[in-house]
Symmetry: C2
Subunit: 413 residues, 2 copies
């Protein structure tokens, strides 16, 4: 039986020994000499839940810093899309691995992706040991044949790692997916028992165009089409009014809040605290590395908390709630009992180095983690009961970076 004993680890302010068996927390107060396949001395470390990044485009790490600080349309049309048109399957694999490397280093063990050539991302995830829900992107301009093939692929797909890797139906957005395809996507997700993720009301332009085309805003339009339900993860939701918040909550939709990307692209500020107050399951995503430009959920969590405060009051979104958005709420959106250190929960966690200067003094570990730390404080990372990073070391790191550099050299030659 696969097992891991974390000896003398700080949990909620007290030292204990934690036994993990078959990928789940088993005993939070185990004997110091409990039998385990692997024993890890965590004397200088504390355990916290790992992050669930609910919206990203992993392989876009290859576009990190490729184009910044320009209008959205110029950015997409003159830079991002021409680059993407040159990307081949191996680039998706290399870019996804670079993304996963960065995510593990900063304490993330799950991501919901939305991109192309998903088998390459599946392969990267399978090899590197994290969890992912990988979106198959759909939009009208792909053409009937490709759409039919993708929907067939989604229907027939068997996970190479059930419970760790799943596919998600990902109609891009209301401005790229017409009503017919949008409804086919919703039906496919229901028929396959899959989740559905899409961009919703990211920019004011998107909302204005939707109102002009369909006579109503994106949330109302999606609701009218019967798309919204508890299997839906709506990314962004920057421009939503109180009635739309109520609709999202009523339908059980999860919101993926991406503060850095929304700020950097000047899209606006998602009313995340109001969405949570309305009853939505609010989670946090980093979006892709080309609009952030990292995949650091700790930093994203600080942005979420501070944006909520400056839009509300200093009491809005306290540290422990921000951490919950970035962990348990994200896990819940994907039907995973994780994001908490509790018997029976999936053993996905971060070990923090208590000698790190930003975790000192340690009045409140959660406050230090949310507001003060950075990835230097992450000592080790556990997913599915396995040590993916052990005291700063991740298997194959140098090769991953070398391959990403080679891919980029070819793509920009």
């Amino acid at each position: 039986m696969r097992s891991l004993l974390l000896k003398n680890v700080l949990l909620d302010g007290a030292r204990t020994n934690i036994l993990i068996e078959n990928g789940r927390f088993c005993d939070l107060h185990a004997a110091a000499d409990a039998a385990a396949e692997t024993v890890y001395d965590a004397s200088g470390e504390a355990i916290v839940p790992s992050f669930f990044n609910t919206h990203t485009h992993a392989a876009m790490t290859l576009l990190r810093g490729y184009a910044d600080d320009m209008p959205l349309f110029t950015w997409l049309n003159d830079h991002i899309w021409p680059f993407e048109a040159r990307m081949r399957p191996s680039d998706i694999y290399d870019g996804s691995r670079l993304a996963i490397l960065e995510m593990i280093r900063s304490g993330t063990t799950f991501f919901c992706d939305m991109y192309w050539m998903v088998e390459e991302t599946v392969r990267a995830v399978e090899e590197m040991g994290v969890r992912a829900a990988i979106g198959v992107s759909l939009m009208d301009r792909l053409g009937a044949e490709k759409i039919a093939r993708d929907l067939e692929f989604l229907a027939g797909w068997k996970s190479p790692a059930p419970g760790r890797i799943e596919l998600v139906v990902a109609p891009h957005a209301v401005y790229t997916v017409g009503p017919e395809l949008m409804q086919r996507c919703a039906e496919a997700a229901r028929a396959n028992g899959q989740r559905l993720t899409l961009h919703v009301s990211e920019t004011a332009q998107e909302v204005a165009d939707c109102v002009r085309t369909y006579g109503m805003s994106p949330v109302r339009w999606l609701d009218k089409l019967g798309v919204l339900g508890p299997n839906v993860i709506a990314a962004h939701c920057v421009h939503v009014d109180p009635e739309e918040m109520a609709i999202l909550a009523e339908r059980g939709v999860t919101v993926a809040h991406n503060p850095c990307s929304n700020m950097k692209l000047s899209s606006g500020i998602c009313p995340a605290a109001q969405l949570a107050a309305a009853g939505c399951n609010v989670t946090i995503g980093t979006d892709g590395a080309s609009s952030n430009n990292n995949l650091d959920m700790r930093e994203e969590m600080k942005f979420a908390a501070l944006l909520a405060k400056v839009s509300g009051s200093s009491e809005t979104l306290p540290a422990h709630e921000a951490l919950q958005w970035a962990t348990a709420n994200g896990a819940r959106a994907f039907g995973l009992d994780a994001g908490r250190i509790a018997p029976g929960a999936l053993a996905d966690a971060v070990l923090l180095d208590l000698s790190n200067e930003r975790l000192n003094p340690n009045y409140n570990l959660v406050s230090n983690w949310v507001y003060a730390a950075d990835s230097r404080a992450v000592s080790s990372v556990i997913c599915d009961g396995r040590l993916l990073m052990q005291r700063g070391r991740i298997e194959g790191e140098e090769e991953i970076i070398a391959r990403a550099r080679e891919a980029v050299a070819r793509l920009t030659a």
Copy 2:
């Protein structure tokens, strides 16, 4: 002669050898075998200017995470002030050292401080090798005798490290310093050839109170008192109108923009890009660790850039300008020729580890540094031509953290 040769370092996209002599950049294209006291192989590294943190309260690292997520008045009155009342000189020393440790680790080599028992901060700065402008805090409630003593101390002070450590006159703010003391501070700064720093228009409450008491807003009031001039560093400037921006620019005032603290305390958003457009020298500060809760100028720079964009457009405050705010503009405010890698400039710099995943791919190092990196990318830090951190190692680190823990244990006993 004190000298340092950085071999094979990446500077503005090309490899070179940099010779530093007597604390200044001497030759940016030196021979690989140039004679130097210390030779540093920077083959895997790039050089960028180090940060100038223009507003902080260093010793408040001892209050990191002590109280968060509460109304400003409760936070100050029930938590911060009672804690501070128990602090003794050794705590200021220990807290300052913890702050300097964190600053060096994240690439900062200068800070402008405003706190108490400044001789302890001077001692910490002197020992640890960074630069600092250390504010002697003044407010009416200290009483006539203490104020007279502090002003005398400021007038008679001789720096233990001229060019590296200076004192600054620091009248706290218009709501704690009446017109008489404010003018005495301005006169003292002029007479001593010192800079003056103070909090200006941090909250809407401060502005409303000032208007009620003095019939005008803080910037207008300070201008009327004759306080504003090119030696003034005004922290925050959150609530300033266009006319006040013009006054600040006209007087040559430097603004210290503290986005994280302003957001976390829900004070508001400083119109930093507009202040820069009006002609102010805009710089970046972290404020104290109790309202941020770190002293990470890289993170602060990203907050500044993204806040400017979401308040303006995606083109507002491009990465290279954000970096300039955090480096050269800060140096300039304190009369230092630094914040640039150029012959004759002070040799204050950061060496970045190019194998760090967030610096890959490397289309644009400045973009990667501003938007994507974190302190893990900082390999070594140079101040005044000396290696303060060498490949992640800072002299005395463990002892600094141990002493800070002891201080806190006593203060909270």
